[in-house]
């Protein structure tokens, strides 16, 4: 199983599943991170603690813990 956290910079992936609890899942969905959504990894903050991704036209910052909950496959 591959998660968003495993992705390198400039990697493009498709979301397969969100393993988050209800509340966080709602939050992710409201940012457009949902099944079938395409994500591009833009940048990692120092220490890979925070990552910047692009969903559609929106740039979003996520923490490593949240990224690990997003199952993805490479495009």
């Amino acid at each position: 199983m591959k998660t968003l956290l495993d992705c390198k910079k400039a990697c493009r992936v498709k979301v397969l599943k969100l393993n988050a609890a209800t509340e966080l899942k709602q939050r992710l969905i409201s940012f457009g991170i949902m099944k079938e959504a395409e994500i591009e990894v833009l940048e990692h903050a120092p220490g890979k603690k925070t990552i910047e991704i692009k969903v559609g036209k929106m740039r979003i910052a996520l923490r490593d813990q949240e990224a690990a909950l997003i199952e993805v496959e490479k495009l």
Binding site: E23, Q26, M34, E43, A45, T50, A61, L62, R63
Partner: protein, 715 residues
């Protein structure tokens, strides 16, 4: 003019023409800016999510209508995740309003429509404002607003809050929609969901269920597990038969979406509807997207190695500029108030009144006004940080670091706001969802030195360090205050606010060139507020300090010195005695008594009674520290005539180590009265104020004690 009064007070006699509009949209789509350009109001605008944290009403007239527009905090989805989102959610559900203006960002339509589709089952008429249409056109995005109007059954109007294009058309559309009947929602779902909706609608219709909302919307809300709809229908006898139908329907939909979460299923339904709409109405010119400017800038600014050094360099430059440029007009302002005091003083025959005006009001207010240039530069810096979109980048860079100290990355936004003024900072902590995170942030905000403390720092940095060093000293003061705040956060997190970490998901807005007008306005407003405070609150406080430091008059003391002064052999000795009298008089005044009384507490920190008093008056407002020092040193002046500016008085009368320890206390101790009140309100109880008081006082005392003793070793 901005009107934020209640409707009741300003309600107009012709009810029929009164339109109350709720302004709804995702964060950072320009809602507040749209209101500003519609009504000439001056709501605060920035480039990050969470600028508006509370609803604001703005009233204005257009054609035959009285408009009341309620600016609601931005919300990504129709949920109550954070406090600000709850404000919007509850307003839309419970309050009376005529229609919704849904503001969307034309450059990112698909994401914005996600909220729109949720609003469409609200049973309220909607007008969509396609904001930033000028920017969209520049990016080659052409939206067919007419076709979109047809497809959604909702008027869609292209506007630009920036250029004020399409504002009249938007208001016309609102007025038309107000006069029209209810809009019929054209939201369509996948076949599987539509089937279930049809079945429930059929059932509701069969039993003639009485509802304000259309049966279709009731059915959708039931399927989405909307609590309010459930509560209503739960008390109706049809519930018994409806329940099994709903259970089946939910199972069916979840199966169809291969998910066990009905809300997720609906989100996917909305997303595919929106994809359809966007595909129909948008014509994109440039098919192959090149790297946008924002991405290019981000490559540098949030670079994993250079990002943080660049940020530190920006901050360092800001404080350098604050001191360097701020120092230029200082001399003139100082000179002006000296001249002004002398001129006014010459026209007042009565000794007491002259002293009140010249030594009290003019010296006190002058000492505060002296720092207006520094304040302006600091405010410009913060306004730039807020309006360019850089703030969210810094939150991104520092989140990992912050996280180690138990703070949420988004805490950064209230903390930076705190460098300007603690009051809006306390308010903006509402963007934090978790109460523990929010309280923790509230407790730390005070460590970010606000603009009102800047005068104290500039005064002391100027008095004890060379001009080349003073800017660096300012930077060190601010940074070490912030670092101390982080350490305090860690301690609080390990003790008082234990708990699991909240997720961090934050939008990084597009970079925008700050509009000069906007910055000018923000800075002007804040500077005027500072000046107004100087003219009212600080002037009153200076009068009080003057009174307390001049009374009671001690006749015996006066007589004993009067004879000494008369018997003085030469002019020098006369001045000497006069100064001795002034000092003796000051020490026996009310303020002197208070200062002497509390002096023992502050002696370990190296303060004399004047500094102790200045700290205590600073509890009212931090500028009062400077004005108090101004009044106290103007009165008990024992420096010679041609060398009596406040900076010199400070450097001649206060030892270096005491000055360092004084700065440390100013950095840490309780924020001003107004900020403390806001803190108490936001934290949710007076007990938090006492916690804050004890926490900051102990920390300030402890740190200042250490700083004093270390500084003594070096001096």
């Amino acid at each position: 003019m901005i009107d934020t009064v209640n409707i009741e007070e300003k309600s107009c006699p012709v009810i029929a023409n009164h339109i109350k509009v709720a302004l709804v949209g995702q964060p950072n789509v320009g809602k507040s800016m749209l209101i500003n350009s519609v009504s000439n109001a001056h709501l605060h605008v920035g480039n990050f999510s969470g600028v508006t944290v509370d609803k604001t009403e703005v009233l204005f007239d257009y054609k035959d209508y009285h408009f009341t527009v309620v600016d609601l905090p931005g919300t990504y989805a129709f949920t109550d995740y954070t406090i600000e989102e709850r404000v919007t959610h509850d307003y839309l559900c419970d309050e009376n309003y005529d229609l919704i203006i849904n503001v969307v960002d034309s450059t990112n339509l698909e994401k914005n429509l996600q909220l729109t589709s949720e609003l469409m089952s609200m049973n309220k008429n909607i007008v969509i404002a396609l904001n930033m249409s000028d920017e969209a056109e520049k990016e080659g995005i052409n939206i067919d607003a007419e076709y979109m109007t047809q497809l959604l059954g909702i008027p869609c109007v292209k506007v630009s809050a920036q250029t004020k294009e399409g504002i009249d058309e938007l208001l016309d559309a609102v007025a038309d929609t107000y006069e029209e009947d209810e809009q019929e929602s054209k939201l369509v779902f996948s076949e599987a969901v539509e089937e279930e909706i049809a079945q429930i609608v059929w059932y509701l219709d069969k039993h003639k269920y009485g509802a304000k909302n259309s049966y279709r919307n009731v059915a959708i809300n039931l399927l989405k597990n909307n609590k309010k709809t459930y509560q209503k229908i739960h008390n109706n006898p049809i519930w018994i038969e409806l329940q099994p139908i709903l259970v089946e329907a939910s199972k069916h939909i979840e199966l169809h979406h291969d998910s066990d979460d009905i809300k997720e299923s609906f989100a996917e339904e909305y997303a595919s509807f929106n994809r359809g709409i966007v595909a129909e109405v948008i014509k994109q010119n440039s098919i192959q997207e090149k790297k946008t400017l924002t991405e290019k800038i981000d490559n540098v600014l949030i670079h994993r190695v250079f990002g943080i050094p660049i940020f530190l360099f920006f901050m360092w430059s800001l404080f350098q500029l604050t001191f360097e440029i701020g120092a230029i007009p200082m001399e003139y302002i100082d000179g002006f108030f000296g001249w002004f005091g002398d001129t006014i003083g010459a026209t007042i025959p009565n000794d007491d009144i002259r002293s009140l005006v010249v030594d009290g009001i003019i010296a006190g207010v002058g000492a505060v006004v002296l720092f207006v240039p520094n304040i302006i530069i600091l405010f410009i810096g913060i306004a730039l940080l807020e309006s360019t979109g850089y703030m969210s980048r810094v939150a991104f860079l520092l989140d990992g670091f912050f996280h180690k100290f138990g703070l949420h990355g988004q805490s950064f936004i209230p903390l930076v706001t705190g460098f300007g003024c603690s009051i809006p900072a306390y308010m903006s902590a509402r963007i934090l969802k978790n109460d523990r995170d929010r309280l923790l942030t509230l407790f730390i905000i005070g460590f970010m030195s606000c603009g009102a403390r800047l005068p104290v720092y500039v005064l002391f940095a100027g008095a004890f360090f060379s001009p080349e060093m003073a800017g660096n000293v300012l930077f060190i003061i601010y940074i070490s205050g912030a670092l101390l705040g982080l350490v305090a956060a860690k301690i609080l997190k390990l003790t008082a606010f234990k708990g699991a970490d909240e997720p961090f998901v934050m939008e990084m807005p597009k970079y925008r060139l700050p509009s000069i007008k906007l910055i000018w306005h923000t800075v002007l407003t804040k500077t005027m507020m500072y000046l107004k405070k100087a003219g009212t609150f600080i002037a009153a406080a200076s009068m009080l300090v003057w009174f307390l430091s001049n009374y009671p008059h001690n006749l015996e003391l006066f007589k004993s010195y009067e004879s000494k002064i008369e018997m003085a052999v030469d002019k020098d000795e006369k001045t000497e005695f006069e100064n001795q009298f002034a000092v003796a008089h000051l020490e026996q005044s009310y303020l002197g008594t208070i200062g002497k009384f509390t002096e023992p507490i502050f002696t370990p920190l190296g303060f004399d009674w004047k500094m102790s008093v200045a700290l205590q008056t600073g509890l009212a407002a931090k500028e009062v520290v400077v004005s108090t020092l101004g009044v106290l040193y103007a009165l008990g002046d024992d420096v010679d005539e041609d060398n009596n500016s406040l900076i010199n008085a400070i450097s001649n009368n206060i030892p270096f180590a005491s000055a360092i320890s004084f700065i440390v206390v100013i950095m840490i101790y309780l924020p001003c009265l107004a900020a403390s009140i806001v803190f108490t309100r936001e934290a949710g109880g007076i007990k938090y104020f006492f916690y804050l008081f004890i926490f900051t006082s102990l920390t300030a005392y402890f740190m200042a004690f250490i700083a004093y003793n270390i500084a003594k070793l070096f001096s």
